[in-house]
Symmetry: D2
Subunit: 477 residues, 4 copies
């Protein structure tokens, strides 16, 4: 549905002026706090952050915190924060727009996880693909259409930085609604892979010490959370040369037993699946194993949830997705002065990216962006995870060549599903969405069970599915 | 791996001369008897049939029967039959080569069916895709390389007509080994679909009576046994216009209960899956339901083999694949004169096709042939099921446009698997073959179970896997 | 600009009923008389012909003639003719629409030929490419948009048969305006090539006598008037096998002298260029030499118009393009009864094509139609000259493979120019049109001369360029 | 002919070790002196330069000069130079290979320029396209096959840096002979365009002073010497925003008169054609006008050589291509100590590029490299001029999107010609080469004159056309 446009020429602007960042979402704090942290430590950029959340109170608290932090002596940044009641106002004339949104987990995410479980479908994350990811995508598409339309109206040249999952579907929606949008999607999963390769360098390369993950060049190609890396270099040293030796060390795969992960963080990652994909397909899986597992049927073909621990990961239970109601929350403690907001090195790249896009130096990283041909063999216009060069002239994808054929086919299936979801979301057609649902690798159910699961999910989340045709034939008995 | 060549120009020949048909295989009689039947009733072509089978005795008996039948008064054809001990001799200077081969079922097909069943993987046919189809493909590739090499050597301009399954892999192997070969693959599954539409015409079109399936034009696109039809016309009447009404009549789907098919033929077909695919994906499945079911996971996600009867089909047990040892066989009875070989209208098109390729009139039908672009969205060079025009100038595919996106993706997955199998077969690489095996929709097993099943199948059939590397890493514990 | 759509399903219709043919243009009589001739001899179709021409008087006279002829005893056809003052009425509910239009030659065609001549640019025909063809295309695009829009409104399922040049641009315009239109373009140039090959068969194939051009199968690929044939068969005999011998007979090329063609018809054709293209590029030029010569620079790089006679053709002078004013015209003589309209075998295929599209049998021919992939290497959606199967289900292109690379590039240049003209015509942008003009092979002028020629042509024909921006920068001094 | 390979993984190497640069050619000194200059000023790389030239004496003199210069006090570099009599020895185990070769101009280049002139075909440079460029390409292909074969044998992982024209054909030959070669082609023509945009920045952007050309980012897309730039940024300022104003200042185009360039350098460039291409096609021509003019017919459609001066350029006469025989040459004066080799800032990037490829930092520049999809709409595998990122992991092209359609078609024609020349060069087929020759835009001759010119060129240079079939039909009378 995407048509490769010639690059347009963005109007010259004095990039040194005071900036405006519009922020959509963030009520749940995670990424908003990171932004406050990073801007407080940023010496060369200055401006305002305009916050908008469907829950205005949360946006207002973020603003209050931001201003409080910025007023502290050790904050070198010069930024003001303001909450707005309308998205239009928050985005008006913005230079950058940051998106980080989520529907209330208790009404949505919990169902995305628990209803499929009743059918024997287990999802470690449930936010990208599988039954849960599909529902999350359907809910997000109308929301991201609105954001794109607001950008077109209020700040057409702004750079939009999306952090929301499902990353591919949200970012793709932005481009489908407003093809001339300047949007990228950021995710930090690949950082883990770079860290692993940094360790490999330290282990295998003579005289390599304290290798920084940022110095490890990886060729990223795939889609968010199902990305492959087939090249990794550190200062000209080919780190793939050591991968077979490392695989040998880690054999046999899987290397854990059910129960081994009890007590571990839900986010634990042991690269078991990443290495298994390398072993069988020749490319290294470059996302956490809990994500990778959701894109093919064979890691989650389990009868009991504990079995997935054999691959060194855990299922995140739905309870962990609902805010803990006990005790004063972190935010309240900050605002009350009970806790001090500690500065840290976040490792996030948003500020570096903004700087590069303002013309202050070149920056090479991986991000989510429409395919212009950089990943040969995947459709043009599909949002892919890809290396790119960022400069004052914008984002330029770096050619990454082809994926091995069977791996490409595994990715292609999800690209097709995501494109189908976009079309279903724009037309409100749940019969079409069900085509993608049937083709989800995790949906290993019989034809009728698959239908029932889909219908159950739609029924449970129908309040969040405005604009869809709830009389679709698939929903009829 | 296939490169679209410019058409070459076949040498002019006096087509009216006596013809030679080389026949590879046929020992198991089915198709050989059909050929004898059809040639005996063919008035305008004449020549010899040179039979070759790895079991020479069977070829000799076919020759004996052929000559006996041709000597009968009511046989208008003028053909002689001779069995050869070498393929070279049988194919030397042939005008046509017919292939119809099979490994001894007791050593192979039985395992293809029964071993996966131990893992809960049920296959109604097991000859095209799924674990069984994969093994059959691996076994066939070296055999069809040899046939292609013999054609190149002995009769480079001959037309090769393949009837062997897995149809796509066998035909694709012929082209991979000898890219300039003139080869087509024939299968009669689509005839059923034409018959269904002929019935629809009789039911819904005013004054339509005794509609002949041959007068129903269907636009065929897909791969053998997983073909879609998205257009059907009879004398300018669009038969798709009646398909929704017919679907309504047949609702709900599935319409049977476990046990309903007991006592039915293993080949029973009720178009339940064909209509369900139409209902969900908008194109009509144009092969028997027992084939269609093997290409997606959701019809065979069953715990008990009887459940598949809900879709109006049965599983063919492996016992039905081994020759019945009781009593004198049909062939013996014919040769002894106890039974008379009765002429029938076979419905097969081979003789019509030969006639057209000899320059005697144009003929439009569906067949299996490399994709030159006739099915947009599938890879060039992949063997697809497609309409084509046959004339004295050869085979010309008819453009069929694109498949709906999700259906295309379902087909693409198998095309990728088949291309991977070809590469595995040509290099002897079973690790590569296992990539395709993992991506088979019917392999809904866990990662290790999938490996075990593959290893078990290879172990059971290793005598038929000469030329493969049996030390592949996937086969090691 | 064209998007490959899935085939739609035309509504079933009782094709045996009385038909309506809408006829746009035809005032200049040529093709209208052929239609009257063919319908008068057509036993199995019946109905009315609704005539519309911008010059209503001419349409009325055609109607009068049609009815007069149909009333004659020897006319077996049963058709009535009526002239309409509005295109809407003529096309309302039509089953077929025939287009055959031309602007008044004295105001347009004459300039197309004579103004370039002043710049040393000679065009034998000037109706397809070159400066003249470019202008003709610019004039035609708005007219064919109107026809397409009327079809969409009045007879959306009708089959539109276009005879007007520039064939590619007119047919392409129909699809650009109304992508779901059912339109084909017919041209008889390739018939000559079939006749040549019929003669080759008679000469070189044993026992071949009275070979009918219709029995010669040629693989047509290219664009109208610049089509290549790379295969020709007659009853299975490969006629390309004799082409080198025939080339040898005709060597050296060119084989004529200036002056040799004096007194010959302007339409004389000696296959000199067709064979020269075969000699140098390996494919046979399948249009009259006077057309082929206009698509590359090297046959018309002449200082004196007589030089082109060396290739066995003549330039048609502009005077031959204006109606002869002397004496009563043919039409008047028919209507007055002074002359009798004699029936002939026209050789045109329109009636056969209508019959096939009504479901009465299959018909294979060559025509102009959007590329769905049948000509690999040319852009999808471009209108190409191609073989096709016509049945009650519609038009299905036959795959023709690739052109040799340098020949393909020569065609590609014109395809690009034609697509550019379409865009220029739809936006009214003459600066864009000038890009195509500069890239016309016959425009071998300096940069400023090229501009002057374009400006002169636009100035001379501005009355026929409504809807174009005459303030384009290229038109300013 | 090129097949997009998956990237291979180069063996890790200790990049800090002493390097070996193999140098092929350089006898004519220009680029060899630049290399000596640049290495003498390079502090961080060290090693040896192994020189090979078909004229060993010239290589030996370069070695002598190199060692002499490196011995001077102000030379901070640490390199030794040695001349070899065999290419094998010079390239054995090299880390980098630099190619800069030329046939003796008096026997070749002089004919390339002067023989076409006799036919009225004027070429300002004659080294890339046109009749002269075609001949140069035909001569170079066997030579670059030999280089590629030697690299494959002696230093398969080396990076090959080509400076020789025709750049595209030479670099493409390297990849055709040895598809896994690591090769790039460097040309400094685009630097001029960056300088022009640097001046635009200084003129139009507030507070921009002393803008460095290296800080101007341009999106380069096309083929060497016919490259377009459609984006230019300086520190986030879009410089294309000022291009229309600058065009207005420079109007009318052309702005010179015949004779205006007398006395100017042959290399004078006034961006007249670069701006005219921008004016008409919307993209800026990014090579010197003398090169750009050779790729389309309309700037050189002149009757008198002086006319080209209207576009602010001169034709380089063949006499300027032959070494001046008068007086002692520069080299002799250096070696004799009569002249001192002065260090300068060369502006060349080879040393920066080597450094980046050794893993010392990232470097973004433009170079000539196979198309992996970075320029959408041009064929995969064709050597294109493209932006790329250079790191220790190799060369990664940067996506540049599509060219405007008519410009793309102009480029495509040359890409096709270059691919045809490669095929002709590898098969020795001059009939095939003549297909490309006929399609050269500067060959605006009649069909027979074109043949005669081609035959004359081949006859004059036959001593340099070993390996071609001189009995090609095009060469017969």
């Amino acid at each position: 549905m995407y048509r490769l446009a010639e690059r347009d020429h963005r109007p010259a602007a004095d990039r040194a002026r005071s900036l405006k960042i519009g922020y959509v979402g963030g009520g749940s704090q995670g990424w908003a706090h990171t932004l406050i942290n990073d801007l407080a430590q940023c010496e060369d950029l200055t401006g305002e952050v305009a916050l908008y959340d469907v829950n205005h109170g949360l946006a207002a608290r973020n603003a209050e915190l931001g201003n409080q932090v910025m007023g502290r002596e050790e904050a070198v940044g010069d930024w003001t924060f303001q909450a707005h009641r309308e998205m239009d106002a928050a985005l008006d004339d913005a230079d950058f727009v940051i998106c980080s949104t989520q529907d209330p987990p208790a009404d949505t995410f919990v169902n995305d996880i628990d209803i499929p479980k009743e059918y024997g479908v287990y999802q470690p994350v449930a936010d990208t693909v599988g039954p849960g990811g599909t529902m999350r995508g359907l809910r997000a598409i109308p929301q991201y259409r609105e954001i794109a339309a607001t950008v077109r109206e209020r700040c057409p040249d702004a750079w939009v930085i999306n952090y929301t999952n499902p990353m591919t579907v949200c970012t793709r929606t932005l481009y489908e609604e407003y093809p001339d949008i300047n949007a990228i999607g950021l995710c930090h999963e690949v950082f883990q892979t770079q860290e692993l390769f940094a360790e490999l360098a330290e282990t295998y390369v003579d005289a390599a010490e304290d290798v920084d993950r940022g110095d490890v060049e990886v060729t990223v190609k795939g889609i968010n959370h199902f990305t492959a890396v087939d090249e990794a270099y550190w200062r000209g040293h080919d780190l793939f040369a050591y991968l077979d030796a490392e695989l040998e060390n880690r054999t046999p795969l899987p290397g854990y037993e059910p129960g081994d992960m009890e007590g571990e963080s839900y986010w634990v990652n042991n690269f078991q699946i990443a290495f298994d994909l390398y072993d069988r397909f020749g490319v290294f899986g470059a996302a956490g194993d809990r994500h990778l597992a959701e894109f093919v049927p064979w890691y989650l073909a389990i009868d009991d949830p504990e079995e997935i621990q054999r691959w060194g990961i855990r299922l995140t239970p739905s309870s962990a997705r609902v805010d803990d109601a006990d005790g004063p929350d972190e935010m309240a403690q900050y605002l009350d002065g009970e806790e001090t907001f500690e500065f840290s090195e976040s490792g996030e790249e948003a500020v570096d990216i903004m700087r590069a896009l303002l013309g202050e130096g070149q920056f090479v990283t991986h991000l989510n962006y429409p395919n212009e041909g950089q990943i040969a063999g995947l459709p043009t216009g599909a949002v892919v995870e890809t290396n790119a060069l960022l400069t004052g002239g914008g984002v330029t994808p770096l050619c990454a060549g082809e994926l091995p054929d069977e791996f490409r086919s595994m990715v292609e299936r999800h690209v097709t599903n995501q494109e189908t979801l976009i079309e279903a979301g724009f037309t409100g057609d749940l019969d079409l969405a069900f085509q993608a649902f049937l083709n989800e690798p995790l949906v290993t159910l019989g034809r009728e069970e698959a239908r029932d699961l889909f219908a159950d999910l739609v029924a449970a989340e129908r309040d969040y599915l405005d604009g869809y045709d709830l009389d679709a034939s698939v929903l009829r008995d």
